[in-house]
Symmetry: C2
Amino acid sequence: MSAGPRSAYRLPPPETAGSGLRVRLDLAYDGSSYAGWQLQPDRATVQGKLEETLARLTGEAPRVYASGRTDAGVHARGQVAHFDLVRAWRPDRLALALNACLPPDIRVFRARRVSAGFHARFSAKGKEYRYHIWNAPVLDPCLRFYRTHIPRPLDRAAMQQAASALEGCHDFAAFSANPNREVDGTVRTLQALRVRGRGPEVFIAARGDGFLYRMVRSLAGYLVRVGLGEVDPSTATEILESRTRTARVPTAPAKGLFLWRVFFRRIGHS
Amino acid sequence: MSAGPRSAYRLPPPETAGSGLRVRLDLAYDGSSYAGWQLQPDRATVQGKLEETLARLTGEAPRVYASGRTDAGVHARGQVAHFDLVRAWRPDRLALALNACLPPDIRVFRARRVSAGFHARFSAKGKEYRYHIWNAPVLDPCLRFYRTHIPRPLDRAAMQQAASALEGCHDFAAFSANPNREVDGTVRTLQALRVRGRGPEVFIAARGDGFLYRMVRSLAGYLVRVGLGEVDPSTATEILESRTRTARVPTAPAKGLFLWRVFFRRIGHS
């Protein structure tokens, strides 16, 4: 009933000499033990684990690029990444080999060959993040790493009212943790910002063409304050227009955040 | 947005000298880090953590009794326990104090005063366990401690067929890990054994008046073999009647099992 020892998996050698290969990975991870996606010296990162495992399996040293460089403690359910290999490995076998050798908190759903024009980050036309809240007096112990606990009842209708006012194309500087360092400016289109859930589960689904640094956690932090009645939902437009970060916009904890899905243009996709 | 430092909580002293107090706790835990419910020397157990924390908070040394003594790695969503205190502490404050001082993998939903006739184990008239399976090629990394991973598709209808044949009053010796050591014999009534779920989630809900040692994990192990087509569902009755443990009944891993709910008679309940 289990997968057997990890080290037992042997990746078959590439079938032809080939002319190189770009591989798209669809993956999920529990970000609790990682200092985020991006490679950092002397710290465990998801990119680091993937590069290290690919090197061990193939003898090549591919650089791995992701659609979204998630922060420390942030999870992913639908992360997309790509990398190049010199030899023509079979992508389906690579997925099996990666799952046999990666730690169990990183899982590859699928590996497939893509055209050289595909880029996990630059070909993405949008992303959906979900921010998960447990809204009941006592947090389910089995969800403690995956939900932000808000014991007091949230006014979900007020949260949705504020969220709806934030949808559309706006300057989101007031919802960036570092607006002065955004190289592409601070205007983004939020296609949808919805408050959903049932029972103790509440989640905020944010879909957009791009997100500023800690933007989803800032939106979640603000919406939680609205839900608790600490800030009026009518302040959404005023805060946007101020373009200034204030105490009304705290950054919600990393552990509630999931990179949920990445959207690509049809062309150049596979 | 967080509960603050654990050590900050101070339990108010009992309001009256009182004549003693029996307290019922409703609690949940993530069993991953524990050698089960029951106190063991030099090992972390749920009972041990509760007794240690209660002693620290009250200065008394209550023994804590549970409805079900879950095994190592088994979780609980609806465990019930009771204990006696000499002084008349306020149960609602005790619950808050316990949650402030217990590790986050043990959570108390409620503490309430019960009559001296209430016993978490002997007053229980039945229990429901749920065995959780993730039935898809790749296991969700955030559920890796709470689901048994079965990559190959399970025939859920065949599983339910075998499960239905196991419902009712039977000698379950063939589904006990140690039938010779069952002090109350091996006959039990399984009021319901149902296979449920959607998408990759499959769970087996077992409700009965009592369970033998590792009975739910044995039922789950057998039903998984049925679902994989390795054992025919028609074997259920024959295995029951054999009263003998065989290879057709493996013990499923602990991590998929949850003590879901405990049922009590109305009288003596509170």
